[in-house]
């Protein structure tokens, strides 16, 4: 059974359909990216999973049950919906203590998660003095309090510097490796590209695709990248064979469309043309995402 199951979920606010017949699932042991432009329904879906809003139709289940039926919510799901959800007058430590007390956890657990998120030196400072990156760490610390099986983080990389991004990536991958299901949403695709194992892409509240990161990036439309000292000669041969080639700024490189890697290699060998590099050009997650959701999305 998947850790998270969303079945034909719809949520309507008046005239606005925020989530539209959305279905997907999230398995344990993986970091799943929940991707979509701003306003595509990611946060609404997460709120439905956490029982904070009621679906208009469909179901949002955690371990096969609605959230409110879980006996130990904090030990089952650690969630962070907004890093700013903290009273600015509390210290980081007192904020976590209010949460751990409600879940019946000992104060020692607060100190543990402060250590894990490298916030111990700042634990007695008021949150209003925290940077956005520190608030993100505090939100993750709160989510980790119950040592949960599932982590659900809404835009956890917002406001993190490159060092913080690497730290977040490492900790999320490590948490997933321990067997947890990790669902992270983002509209900043480069943030999650190196972190996620699988993706759920939504646009305008609807599922666009679910699959592995490779599924998302893969596609026969990607051109072949060819490097050869006799590039122009090879280009002429390829075009004569029906392929199209575009030349970029470098003198020995071109991108070849409408031809397989095997055909390009054989043609070069037949004519004794040396080839230094022959590979599929890497399409970025962002390229693919824009293809799937349309250029109109608010994507950075």
């Amino acid at each position: 059974m998947p850790e998270i199951t969303v079945e034909r979920l719809s949520k309507r606010y008046g005239e606005t359909l925020a989530v539209d017949d959305l279905s997907f699932s999230v398995d344990a042991g993986r970091v799943t990216g929940f991707l979509g432009p701003n306003g595509s329904g990611k946060s609404t879906t997460m709120r439905a999973l956490l029982g904070l809003i009621r679906p208009s139709s469909g179901r949002a289940l955690v371990l096969g049950r609605p959230f409110h039926e879980l006996s130990n919510p904090l030990q089952t799901v650690g969630a962070s919906l907004d890093a700013s959800d903290v009273h600015p007058g509390r210290t980081g430590r007192s904020h976590l203590r209010t949460l751990s007390a409600a879940a019946g956890l000992p104060n020692s657990r607060v100190d543990e998660v402060l250590d894990m998120t490298e916030l111990t030196p700042a634990r007695d400072r008021r949150v209003k003095g925290y940077s956005m990156g520190m608030r993100q760490r505090l939100a993750l610390a709160a989510a980790l309090l119950g040592d949960p099986k599932i982590l659900m983080l809404d835009e956890p990389a917002n406001g993190l510097d490159p060092q913080g991004m690497r730290w977040l990536r490492d900790i999320l991958v490590a948490l997933a490796a321990e067997g947890r299901a990790v669902l992270i949403s983002s509209h900043v695709l480069s943030e999650v590209e190196q972190t996620v194992d699988s993706v759920v892409v939504i646009g305008a509240g609807r599922l666009v695709m679910q699959g592995s990161l490779q599924d998302l990036i893969a596609g026969d439309q990607r051109p072949a990248l060819v490097r050869s000292p006799r590039r122009d000669e090879l280009r002429a041969l390829l075009e004569a064979a029906g392929a199209t080639a575009t030349i970029d700024g470098r003198s020995d490189r071109m991108f070849v469309h409408h031809s397989s890697l095997e055909d390009i290699g054989l043609l070069a060998a037949e004519h004794g043309i040396p080839v230094f590099e022959l590979t599929r050009a890497l399409s970025t997650l962002e390229d693919r995402f824009l293809e799937l959701t349309g250029e109109g999305g608010n994507v950075r």
Partner: protein, 241 residues
């Protein structure tokens, strides 16, 4: 018990709670000390003794504000998300907030009584102005109960309305513009409004037609109860967005 502890920690971990309590003690001390210590003895002897002990309505207002903050801070600062994820049975959270409001109200009432009795009664005694013991007990129990109910009123109204500014404005209107309400509706109905009931509960000397102290206490407690039930029901079904 877990939720109660969490709610208590939420209250005591922010400076606002301490600032409001401290302000209340300071204002009560100033009011009690200045009036009883500086006003001419003959004038004091001519006054209704009750007016010398009641203190200022600000104590009730401040404790109402503290109760309102206890309920509405969750929404203002977004912590309601985590609170209701950890405790999906949201009515338990509101019940815990009411319990904390009750404890804080009692503490505030005891502080008021301590400060007022310590200053006003001792100064009046030293200056030879007699105060009837039964009257003092009556006033202190009335004002103390008013402070406790004011705090509970704030929690309950905040749970119902959610918006911090709206809660405080509505509460202040209900408590402070009492005369206007009574004027337009008439004292026969107006006396049941929270502000009028508070006056009666505190034993405030007035020419207005007021409820008896006991009935006023029951009216205020009943209002708090109705608001608390409504607040729990609304919170249970409210969407946290």
């Amino acid at each position: 018990m877990r939720i109660l502890r969490s709610e208590w920690l939420k209250l005591v971990s922010v400076p606002t709670a301490w600032i409001l309590l401290g302000t209340m003690v300071l204002i009560e001390a100033l009011a009690a000390g200045l009036v009883t210590g500086l006003v001419d003895v003959k004038e004091l002897q001519g006054r209704d003794p009750a007016s010398l002990l009641i203190g200022t309505p600000l104590s009730t207002v401040l404790m109402f504000t503290l109760g309102a903050l206890l309920a509405t801070n969750e929404y203002r600062h977004g912590t309601a998300n985590q609170t209701f994820v950890i405790t999906p049975r949201r009515e338990q959270v509101i019940a815990a907030k009411l319990a904390v409001g009750l404890v804080v109200g009692i503490v505030a009432a005891l502080l008021y009584i301590t400060v007022n009795a310590g200053l006003a009664l001792s100064i009046l005694s030293n200056r030879g102005v007699p105060v009837d013991g039964d009257l003092a007990v009556n006033i202190y129990s009335g004002v103390g109960t008013g402070i406790v109910l004011g705090c509970l009123f704030g929690v309950a109204l905040g749970a119902l309305l959610r918006n911090q500014v709206l809660t405080i404005v509505v509460g202040l209107v209900l408590f402070l513009i009492r005369g206007v309400v009574a004027l337009f509706i008439g004292t026969s109905v107006g006396k049941f409004f929270p502000g009028e009931a508070l006056l009666a509960l505190q034993g405030t000397p007035t020419t207005e037609e007021l409820l008896s102290q006991t009935n006023a206490g029951l009216v205020l407690a009943g209002t708090c109860l109705v608001l608390a039930i409504a607040g729990m029901a609304v919170t249970r079904y409210r969407e946290i967005t």
